[in-house]
């Protein structure tokens, strides 16, 4: 109860601090600036407090229900070194007295599994060379084997998977990711049983007016003709939030990011987001000439350690 109260109090502080921060950004005077800084400090303190409380809750949940899905979720959120493949799984089909692999019931959009092309309905038959086919009644069950493997993954780990889709076998390598945001206030405080660990309050957007940050467009036939290339995405508006960010300009055509060919605006944004605070190398066409740009990702607000989630009401 004390822990729950602490969480609630910290969340309230987060809400008030967030509201103060959002309300004052448009006023440029020094006093307001100091208030904003103070609100940000309170926000950081509240978030740290939430982090401590969430870790405590994670330990308590793991003690009460070891190996339960909620305990796994708590452990994941409170351990920044953990990563995931991005799949929900269940027991595979039974064939000739065997449990034939692991059925993928869900693929998380934007996850490593999604990027590798796995789909719901695929049946995983091996992971890192270990078979996921077991005799009926044998323990651990195939999905348990995979869950155990997934619980040891760190960001960037590669997992070789064999799978079956519509009767055909295939292989794929999935890079484990740690999705962001994994913010601590993601729990339903109204739920007495805490029977599932999920967000109940959507974060409030921090974007003002027409500021949509970096904007990218798909090259349609007319634009492709003008820029004399069908490859890449067009920069409509470049973000200018960071001095050390890669110097993209409106009118640039991004052709690759860190060596990966870019064809879709969504993919380009994902690449820049995944880069976090690392330096990126972007190949562009500018004024008809190929250029290589280097610098940090221009997506300041999406930087892994810099995002500040403020909770409130939001709908697209």
């Amino acid at each position: 109860m004390k822990l729950r109260f602490t969480l609630g109090a910290a969340l309230c502080a987060l809400l008030f601090a967030g509201a103060a921060s959002a309300a004052s950004t448009d006023k440029g005077d020094a006093a307001r600036q100091r208030e904003v800084e103070q609100a940000r400090k309170e926000l950081r303190d509240a978030r740290d407090e939430l982090a401590r409380a969430a870790k405590e809750l994670a330990r308590a949940t793991a003690k009460l229900e070891p190996n339960s899905p909620q305990a796994r979720a708590f452990e994941f959120v409170t351990n920044p070194r953990r990563a995931m493949l991005g799949v929900g799984v269940d027991t595979g089909p039974e064939r000739n007295g065997e449990l034939h692999g692991v059925l993928i019931t869900a693929v998380t959009p934007g996850s490593g599994a999604d990027k590798a092309g796995l789909k719901s309905g695929d049946i995983l038959t091996s992971a890192n060379g270990k078979s996921l086919v077991t005799k009926k009644g044998e323990k651990p069950k195939p999905e348990r084997k995979l869950v155990e493997l997934m619980s040891t993954l760190s960001p960037g780990d590669k997992v070789d998977l064999e799978y079956e889709r519509e009767g055909k076998n295939a292989r794929v390598t999935v890079i484990a990711q740690r999705p962001e945001p994994m913010n601590f206030p993601m729990m339903d405080l109204e739920d007495e049983d805490l029977d599932a660990f999920m967000s109940s309050i959507p974060p409030m957007r921090m974007w003002s007016g027409d500021d949509a940050g970096l904007q990218l467009a798909k090259l349609d036939d007319d634009l492709a003709s003008y820029f004399q290339t069908h490859d890449g995405v067009l920069v409509i508006k470049a973000a200018k939030d960071k001095d050390d960010a890669v110097a993209l300009k409106s009118g640039d055509v991004i052709q690759s990011i860190d060596g990966s060919t870019i064809e879709l605006p969504v993919d380009a944004m994902d690449r820049l987001r995944d880069a976090g605070d690392k330096e990126v190398r972007i190949e562009v066409i500018r004024h008809g000439k190929h250029e290589t740009l280097k610098g940090k990702s221009p997506l300041k607000r999406l930087g892994k350690r810099k995002r500040v989630e403020i909770h409130g009401d939001e709908e697209p």
Partner: protein, 169 residues
């Protein structure tokens, strides 16, 4: 003479009549007879009620009207339906990602957050109890719907701005 005095005078004028010798026993037997009649009526009413109640109980029972499936079956059906919906939304979303004409940082931030929440739901799907599974799948479908809307709205919001070659120049 007032009315009261007149009444007393007329009563005094009545002739003297001796009471019958068996008056009280006759009255007693008449009262007993009426009491026995009330008991018989009460017994008759009770008996008729008993017969009626027994008759209702002995009537053949009609087939129970099935208004809804048993909770566990309904739950399993609901989860199966949500899973099918989730799979369809995943497929739809994959197509939308390819078709989005303009994608901005704001939409990307929102999509990233929704994907983060989805990953947490997906992490709990494996091995979840039926009650929890139902809630998780419902949440998953809701989040996927929001993600689809984010992609749809990005296209609509930015549709008013069509990049042109003049802008570039």
């Amino acid at each position: 003479m007032n009315p009261e005095d007149r009444l007393q005078e007329r009563l005094r004028a009545l002739p003297n009549v001796p009471p019958p010798a068996d008056g009280w026993p006759a009255l007693e037997s008449a009262l007993r007879a009426r009491k026995q009649q009330r008991v018989r009526i009460a017994f008759a009413l009770a008996a008729s009620l008993l017969v009626s109640f027994s008759a209702v109980l002995m009537l053949p029972k009609p087939d129970p009207i099935i208004t809804s499936a048993p909770p566990r079956v309904a739950q399993a059906q609901d989860v199966a339906s949500l899973m099918a919906r989730s799979r369809a939304l995943e497929s739809h979303l994959a197509q939308m990602r390819e078709d989005v004409p303009v994608w901005d940082e704001r939409s990307a931030a929102r999509a990233a957050r929704l994907e983060g929440e989805l990953s947490l739901v997906d992490l709990q799907l494996s091995g979840a109890e039926p009650n929890r599974a139902q809630r998780l799948w419902r949440d998953r479908v809701e989040l996927l719907n929001k993600l689809v809307r984010t992609h749809q709205n990005a296209g609509l919001i930015n549709a008013s701005y069509t990049p042109s070659t003049e802008d570039h120049l």
